[in-house]
């Protein structure tokens, strides 16, 4: 079904190979989905949201990578690389260290805590319900308006450039296919398909990289010619209105440096090292999409190995996306590096600049016909894997954190259905978001997204870090820290959006006291301000006793003592409500075959298991929260992590 909407019917030669590739990919995906449908028990919460806690390390690692890398990376990294040089690769290479932080520090705590969602962890850690609600809502907001819109925008840019098709048709088809296998399969299906899509993405991107380097004259050829890649049209058509200064169209002198001047650089090096680490801390260590994949692993060693695999894969985007973006500028400077607004509008439909078309341009002009179809498959793979992960995780958040509050008596079956319905709701919102994406196709959407994340995520990262490491932090401290951080972030975000970010030719009118601070510096400042708030308020209010904190903080992660759950009352209330509902309700047997078929397809068990007793719950949670590791494998994994860090350090220093 997918290939018919996507293989270009106009280019006759492209059709057969494109079709073959798509048939192969779609049938593999179909097989995997079917197999996971039969294998994992998708009818339970653990089965649907956490893949039954049975995944081994390589689907975990591949899924982490595929969930992270979306079409936004292909378009955004290449575009920024074309415009500003290699520093944007620092976003990717910073993640190598953050992903180790995730596997060694955060996931053990989440596992022993026995939680499924991040708001649930905060609830157990702090008690009270307002933090959980706040985090769920702001996470859903950030997903829908940053991750989904970026990936859809980039996918749309690519499809427009490559095929010239109507955005609505293509995006609706994409979203429907993604929603279909998210709704039916659950996390297990997603993680297996992510593995296939990772392979497709990497293979395709490697092929394009090979072609690009061949065209530009090899690795040295790129670095010899990039500095001279300027467009030919550099005169302002209306000199009385504006003049075009040379710096707007010549490549930056520090384009080959990963670490740039702290004052004049577009990505200053303290920002690149620490600012991206702060935002990365939110994205990798406290965000539902990523953490959920780690929680689905068999045991802690598999988590760590998966994190290492993801780290190694994160080395690739610099070579697969940033360098080809720069090559695109060298090969097509008049289009990619256009500076006159009218000319840019002609080329890519937006006045600000056309660097976003760097990657699609390479695909369209450089690749032979058959391989063009394959690259399209690559982009679709990236887009679908990211979107599917976001759909699944937001459905988890909504079901476990918001729906259970509205209806505590909801049992597994109802939760499953609600989770699936929510995915459909999100798809509808995403489709409705397309006009906004089109209107904002000013080439600045990627910058807006980075800024939004830098203004809203640091308080969350700060609270999570403190929650895990500092026992003294309590509920009022965390809540008011989050609110304070949010207000400060909004105080920067709203003026900046209303004034607009401007461009090189027409700088923004935003006063420099607000907008002068680089967004990465702002992220660092906000992180520390929030931390100070949280600590001050925590020390002024009564502390949480240690009996509530066993296995919820890093220092107590191995503690075997019984924990007095702060949310024990609410859990008991929910279980009672569910038991009553089970006793009062009649057991309906799915009589009609159509109903049974529907139930099986959606993975909903028609026979509801009886509510477990307290002993069964205790035994089950003990098994799930076990973080012991086999010593031999533990040492192997630790050694591997050290090797990976060494490689990362070498590459950072090499390109610095």
């Amino acid at each position: 079904v997918g290939f018919l909407s996507v293989c270009p019917p106009t280019v006759a030669q492209a059709m057969p190979l494109c079709v073959y590739i798509h048939v192969i990919i779609e049938s593999m995906i179909g097989c995997l989905v079917f197999q996971s449908m039969c294998r994992t028990n998708r009818g339970t919460v653990g089965g649907y949201f956490l893949a039954g806690r049975s995944m081994i390390w390589w689907p975990v690692g591949a899924s982490l990578f595929a969930s992270n890398i979306g079409s936004g990376h292909f378009v955004g990294l290449a575009g920024t690389g074309a415009a500003n040089g290699i520093a944007v690769g620092g976003f990717e290479w910073n993640a190598l260290f953050i992903v180790l932080l995730l596997g060694w520090v955060f996931v053990p705590v989440y596992l022993t805590a026995g939680v499924i969602t991040m708001p649930q962890y905060l609830r157990k850690r702090f008690g009270g319900s307002r933090i959980r609600l706040y985090l769920s809502i702001i996470s859903l907001f950030l997903y829908i308006f940053t991750k989904v819109s970026v990936d859809m925008f980039s996918g749309a840019v690519f499809i427009q450039q490559a095929l010239g098709w109507n955005i609505y048709v293509a995006v609706i088809a994409l979203l429907s296919i993604t929603a279909l296998y998210t709704v039916t399969g659950g996390l297990a299906a997603l993680m297996y398909t992510d593995t296939v899509q990772t392979l497709v993405m990497i293979a395709g991107a490697f092929v394009l990289m090979g072609f690009s380097f061949n065209e530009v004259g090899g690795y040295d050829g790129l670095f010899d010619t990039y500095m001279q890649a300027t467009p030919s049209l550099i005169e302002s058509p209306r000199p009385e209105e504006y003049n075009i200064s040379a710096q707007c169209y010549t490549p930056r002198p520090d384009a080959y440096n990963l670490l740039r001047s702290p004052i004049t650089g577009d990505l200053p090096w303290p920002g690149v090292i620490f600012g991206i680490a702060v935002v990365g801390c939110w994205y990798w260590c406290s965000d539902q999409v990523i953490v959920q994949r780690c929680l689905a692993a068999k045991n802690l060693t598999h988590v760590k190995a998966g994190c290492i695999l993801c780290g190694y894969l994160k080395l690739l985007p610099m070579f697969l996306m940033v360098f080809p973006g720069m090559i695109s500028r060298v090969l097509y400077p008049d289009e990619v590096a256009c500076v006159v607004p009218e000319k840019c509008e002609e080329i890519c439909g937006t006045k600000v600049g056309c660097s976003n078309i760097a990657y699609p341009k390479l695909v369209v002009t450089l690749m032979p016909n058959g391989l063009r179809g394959m690259m399209l498959a690559v982009m679709l793979a990236a887009l679908m894997s990211s979107l599917a992960s976001i759909f699944n995780s937001s459905s988890t958040l909504f079901t476990m954190d918001i729906w259970t509050k509205i209806r505590p008596q909801a049992r597994d079956r109802e939760l499953m259905i609600v989770g699936r319905v929510w995915v459909l709701c999100i798809v509808a919102v995403s489709i409705a978001w397309i006009p906004v994406v089109q209107a904002a196709q000013s080439g600045q959407l990627f910058d807006y997204i980075q800024s939004v994340t830098s203004y809203l995520a640091p308080p969350i990262a700060s609270v999570f870090l403190l929650a895990v490491f500092v026992k003294r932090v309590n509920e009022p401290g965390a809540f008011w820290g989050l609110i304070g951080g949010l207000l400060i972030g909004l105080a920067r975000m709203i003026p900046e959006f209303t004034y607009g970010t401007g461009s090189c030719l027409f700088p923004s009118a935003c006063p420099s006291i607000i907008c002068g601070v680089h967004y990465l510096y702002f992220a660092i400042i906000l992180f520390f301000i929030t931390a100070v708030f949280v600590l001050i308020i925590s020390y002024c209010t009564p502390e949480i006793e240690e009996r509530h904190l066993h296995r919820l903080v890093f220092s107590l992660r191995n503690s075997k003592e019984p924990r007095d759950d702060l949310d024990a009352e609410e859990e008991e209330h929910m279980r009672k409500a569910r038991r009553e509902a089970a006793e009062n309700g009649t057991i309906k047997s799915s009589s009609s075959p159509l109903r049974r078929c529907f139930s099986w397809f959606c993975g909903v068990d028609s026979s509801q298991a009886p509510e477990p007793t307290e002993e069964e719950m205790a035994a089950a949670s003990k098994q799930l929260t076990d973080i012991s590791e086999d010593p031999l494998w533990k040492n192997i994994v630790n050694a591997n992590a050290l090797v990976m860090m060494t490689v990362a350090v070498f590459l950072w220093a090499h390109y610095a």
Partner: protein, 115 residues
């Protein structure tokens, strides 16, 4: 605690290295070829990891030397409580185990988490 120390050390390594890189750039463009900068950074990094490992080992050895003395003192009180709840004795044992585990675990961990 040890992990935060290790993290801080790694960040310090970065800081030092970038400062070095910056001054290199300012003084002479091609004085040190990039691959050599990379190797120097790797050597510095591994050296720091080694130091953290040594410090951690000495620290752990320090506390584990005191451990047997503590647990010896702890034994008679346990025997005294014996006629009371056996649960408390079990908890005491598990707590001791817990301490050992933390030390050994951190020990092995620090070899790679100098981050």
């Amino acid at each position: 605690m040890k992990k935060t120390v290790a993290t801080l050390l790694l960040l310090l390594a970065f800081f030092v290295r970038t400062a070095v890189a910056q001054t290199d750039k300012v003084s002479a463009q091609r004085a040190i070829p990039p691959w050599l900068t990379g190797i120097i950074a790797v050597v510095v990094f591994l050296f720091l990891v080694f130091i953290v490992f040594i410090v951690n080992k000495m620290w752990c050895e320090g506390t584990s030397v005191e451990e047997p003395a503590e647990s010896n003192q702890g034994k008679p009180p346990d025997g005294a409580i014996q006629n009371g709840t056996s649960l408390e004795v079990v908890l005491h044992d598990m707590r001791d185990e817990g301490y050992d585990n933390i030390c050994l675990e951190d020990d092995a961990k620090v070899t790679m988490t100098a981050m």
